[in-house]
């Protein structure tokens, strides 16, 4: 034991474990408070899945009470998770001896390791998206509500559409508000990019707001920027919008309002050629399609509180010879092709359904982990309790 290097003793020590717990507590507290200002995904990336994070002092004190500028560096969730993992593993290699009495703790810790691995796998590999389907319609792609893209479609070739996709981060980039692409005969100038927006109808918008766009739907409705949805509000996700000017050389083709809230495509005309444009959530296409046959939304009598909602869908995958009807409802998801479809929400007026589609190769790990930890802790405390009862009796 004495020959063990001091370093190994340190990384396997209980003292380090306690320090890591304390740091994790501070990190989680900060990451929770940060959600009063930022969206939950932003916080997850910055705090919980990062190597290090700069935490503003202001988080811990309401601004109305005291204004404190400045930030302090802090280890991120990834760092702490890896450290906890190493510490725990090292402790078992160095200190733990295999015995019946110790078995409970060993099983528990195995479960905890699995939990850490599970969260890592989820962070690295899990993909989430939504599928919005109107009643009667079908969809074969999944939208990622956290990233959007400007799609420009040249449908002049009857055989094939030419689609050029501009990721939203290029639109949001203030340094280079001009976007060009060899396949397009025009450039796009970003007049305003709104990370989150609200659409004002013809009656709500002022004349000036409507005048911002010179062509397309934007002449009838306007968009205004609103603050990003914070984690604590847990309401809707952000819906971006942009005012874009399309130019051919120096001649303007018009300023358009684009946002995923506008349904359908708008048209930009360049000479005789017509291009369709839309800002939409990033789409990932799938080999199967889901058709919404019937959407049900029951409410409690006399209230708007949802009692239950469910979607009867038809799942078709020609390559796999799949063609069947499935009922997806709250707490009753459909699992298919490594993905799980959950009943998440619904379109306005109950005209369609919103399914949450998740692919998470690590989804089983927490289940295993929970089982191991429970068995382990019951074992451990059971052994301890019986020992202390024996002592008392003796």
């Amino acid at each position: 034991m004495n020959s063990m290097p001091a370093a190994l003793r340190a990384i396997s020590s209980l003292r380090l474990a306690v320090v890591l717990f304390a740091l994790s507590i501070v990190l989680i507290l900060a990451g929770t408070l940060a959600q009063t200002q930022e969206g939950v995904w932003m916080v997850v990336d910055r705090y919980f899945r990062s190597i290090a994070v700069l935490i503003p002092f202001q988080l811990f004190v309401p601004e109305k009470v005291l204004r404190i500028p400045g930030v302090f560096p802090f280890p991120g969730g990834l760092t702490l998770g890896v450290c906890l993992f190493v510490n725990l593993l090292a402790a078992h290699i160095v200190r733990f001896k295999l015995s019946w009495k110790r078995m409970g703790m060993i099983v528990t810790h195995a479960g905890v390791l699995l939990l850490l691995v599970g969260e890592f796998v989820t962070g690295a590999l899990a993909k989430e998206g939504t599928m919005t389907i109107a009643e009667g319609a079908s969809a074969n792609y999944i939208e990622d509500g956290r990233t959007s893209e400007l799609a420009v479609i040249d449908a002049s070739d009857p055989a094939d559409d030419l689609v050029v996709v501009v990721p939203a981060r290029l639109l949001a980039d203030r340094e280079s508000p001009l976007i060009t692409n060899g396949l397009l005969p025009f450039t796009v100038r970003v007049i305003e990019w709104m990370p989150n927006s609200r659409v004002l109808g013809p009656m709500q918008a002022s004349k000036q707001q409507l005048a911002r766009a010179t062509a397309g739907t934007g002449t009838q409705v306007a968009a205004v920027a609103v603050g990003v949805a914070t984690g604590v509000e847990a309401s809707d996700s952000d819906v971006p919008a942009a005012y874009l000017e399309f130019k051919q050389g120096e001649t303007t083709l018009g300023t358009y309002l684009v946002t995923p809230r506008l349904i359908g495509m708008q048209t930009v005309e360049v000479g005789t050629k017509r291009f369709q444009i839309a800002l939409r959530f990033e789409r990932n296409y799938r080999p199967y399609s889901v058709q919404l046959l019937d959407f049900k939304h029951d409410r409690f009598v006399g209230t708007e509180t949802a009692r239950n909602f469910s979607s009867l869908v038809r799942l078709t995958d020609t390559a796999q010879h799949v063609d069947r009807e499935v009922l997806i409802s709250m707490n009753n998801p459909l699992r298919y092709a490594g993905e799980t479809f959950y009943q998440a929400s619904f379109a306005p007026d109950d005209s369609g359904t919103v399914l949450q589609v998740v692919r998470n190769p690590g989804w089983l790990l927490p289940y295993l982990s929970c089982t191991l930890v429970t068995i382990g802790l019951l074992w451990h405390f059971g052994v301890r309790l019986s020992a202390s009862v024996k002592r008392k009796v003796a």
Binding site: S13, L14, R15, A17, V18, F21, A22, S24, I25, I28, L29, G31, T32, L33, Q35, T36, V40, V43, V44, F48, P62, K64, L115, G118, E119, T122, E128, G231, V232, E233, A234, R299, F300, V301, G302, T303, T305, A306, R307, N308, F309, M330, N331, P333, T340, Y342, Q356, V358, N360, W363, P366, Y367, S369, C370, V373, T374, L377, L378, F381, R384
Partner: protein, 564 residues
């Protein structure tokens, strides 16, 4: 004196039982309007409001509670039950308009209404009506911005508008849905359609209810009695179960078991304190006698607490924890058996003190949380799963309870140890063992409960862990308990350190329980949450102060110094 001390616990228990029996009996006593028209049968009529079938009595109580902050009202100098106010609203609107049922606290709102009485906080429709247009205008101005951005006046005016709207909604019989469905395919319906051009309900139950209201308006006690019985007879076939639940709920609202239980916990706490105080003064026999009395009272309070919880489970058809209110009721409940078990083993009295204090405090919190109206409201679709409510929610709430219990025992350990000689000897050793044991249990329950929550989330929307505030709150409690355990195993803390960390656990648990709910509404929230922010802050400051007490060097702890 010797005999008195010996029989004192029995006397106390008999007295408390008699008190409870008298409460039960008075809840069963008939209640009538001054002119003799009975209110009992009407109170039990099941109606549908907020999606739940409940007795008209509960609807009246919840509505009046939201409008005025209490379940009774001032009828020309005497306090009368909510149901009487509701019936007056329907049968004698002119008189009802003069009842002071709108609670207004904000001075600017009062001055807007041209009210000069600074001390009064409840006002009548008649007093507000002349300024109605201004209230509507102001609330429209206020509601143009989000609740979070509104200043206190804007919130107050927007709240007042909400109350006025609710008042009108109820007065015009659009809420609640009074007419019960009698045949297949029928639905609960309001007497007057929500849509102004809609047809009023005409079915058999609507007619029966109208007959009741007409007889009530006429003040004809016999006719009213007959009409009410006729309607109950009509319901007995199609709604037998609702009728039964209705009767129980009315009885429960009148008994207020949680309120009585909180009183008993308080009495037990005081008995325990007196026991501790008299210990050095009197002969040895009074301390055990008083402690046994306290234990008896706690046991009775616990029985009452349990009956109340069971009744709620039966009425709702759900596991015990469904919202913040019921979590408060349950946290207190779950702590008691743990503390009593410990007391039975160790017999040091401190655990009775901790148990009664937790029972009292959590029921006070629950009482304050009930101000928003129906505590048995329906649940959002995603939460509508008895399996997960029964497993995740119950287990995680037990985890909260255990963390609080450990923290409260630690408080008594610290205060008793530093300031008194009461914990000399065995107690100073037994208490830390107990704190440790409870923390072990808390770690187990909070971990399993939290992970079960993750599994529920994975089942519902495919995300085991989403790092949202509520989840993080639960994770903090788990980590805190793990930190205490590992620090103890590693020899970094001993008895005093564990106790201090356990007191810190009170802060962590309180924050996770309430703090996470407050984040969304900002510091300047409204209603209970507004004062709750300060209550939480106060609670945390008290815990910090207790931590400072614990920092007194152990050589100066009176209980330790006195150890031979």
């Amino acid at each position: 004196m010797k005999t008195l001390a010996r029989w004192f616990p029995a006397l106390v228990v008999v007295f408390v039982v008699a008190f409870l029996v008298s409460i039960g009996a008075s809840a069963l006593k008939p209640v009538a309007r001054v002119d003799g028209v009975s209110l009992d049968g009407i109170a039990r009529i099941p109606v549908s409001a907020g999606g739940r079938t409940k007795p008209l009595d509960s609807f009246a109580r919840n509505t009046l509670l939201r409008l005025s902050g209490r379940q009774t009202y001032d009828a020309d100098g005497t306090m009368r039950p909510a149901i009487e106010w509701l019936l007056e609203l329907w049968t004698n609107p002119d008189e009802a308009a003069k009842r002071r049922v709108f609670r207004i606290d904000h001075p600017d709102v009062k001055s807007l209404l041209a009210i000069t009485e600074a001390s009064r906080t409840r006002f009548s429709w008649t007093e507000i009506a002349p300024k109605l247009e201004e209230v509507v205008r102001q609330s429209q101005l206020a509601n143009a911005i989000s609740r979070k951005q509104q200043d206190p006046f804007q919130r107050a005016i927007s709240d007042l508008y909400g109350k006025l709207a609710e008042f009108v909604e109820v007065q015009s019989l659009r809420t609640p849905y009074l007419a019960a469905p009698l045949a297949n395919g029928e639905e609960w319906a309001p007497l007057l359609a929500a849509d102004p051009h809609g047809q009023p309900a005409t079915g058999a139950s609507a007619q029966a209810i109208r007959a009741v209201l007409v007889a009530y308006a006429a003040g004809d006690a016999a006719a009213c009695e007959q009409a009410v019985s006729a309607y109950h007879a009509l319901l007995a076939v199609a709604h037998a179960e609702a009728e039964e639940r209705s009767a129980l709920e009315v009885f429960l609202s009148r008994c207020e078991p949680f309120y009585q239980a909180s009183l008993l916990y308080l009495v037990a706490f005081l008995l325990g304190c007196i026991a501790m105080l008299v210990a050095p003064l009197s002969a040895e026999r009074w301390k055990p006698s008083l402690l046994r009395s306290a234990l008896g009272v706690i046991a009775l309070a616990f029985v009452l607490h349990t009956l109340g919880l069971t009744a709620r489970i039966y009425l709702q058809g759900r596991p015990p924890v469904t919202n913040l209110y019921s979590s408060a009721v349950f946290i207190g409940w779950a702590c008691i058996p743990g503390a009593l078990l410990g007391e039975w083993f160790a017999r040091i009295g401190v655990l009775s003190l901790a148990a009664s204090l937790i029972g009292f405090a959590t029921l006070v919190v629950a009482h304050n949380l009930s101000a928003s109206g129906d505590t048995m409201e329906m649940m959002q679709a995603v939460l509508d799963s008895n399996f997960w409510l029964a497993t995740h929610v119950v287990v995680v709430t037990i985890g909260y309870s255990a963390t609080f219990l450990a923290g409260f025992i630690a408080i008594f350990y610290v205060v008793g140890g530093v300031c008194t000689k009461l914990l000399r000897g065995e107690a100073m050793k037994a208490l830390p063992r107990m704190i440790y044991g409870v923390i072990c249990f808390a770690a187990l329950a909070s971990f399993v409960g939290t992970v079960l929550g993750g599994i529920w989330a994975d089942q519902s929307w495919g995300r085991f862990w989403g790092w949202d505030p509520k989840e993080n709150g639960a994770a903090l409690i788990v980590l805190w308990n793990l930190l205490i355990l590992h620090a103890r195993w590693g020899g970094m803390v001993r008895d005093r350190g564990v106790a201090m960390l356990a007191i810190g656990g009170n802060i962590v648990t309180a924050w996770s329980w309430f703090g996470t709910n407050m984040l969304g509404v900002g510091l300047h929230s409204y209603g209970f949450m507004d004062s709750a922010v300060f209550a939480l802050l106060g609670f945390c400051i008290v815990q910090l102060a207790l931590l400072c007490v614990a920092l007194v060097p152990t050589t100066r702890w009176r209980s330790l110094a006195a150890t031979p």
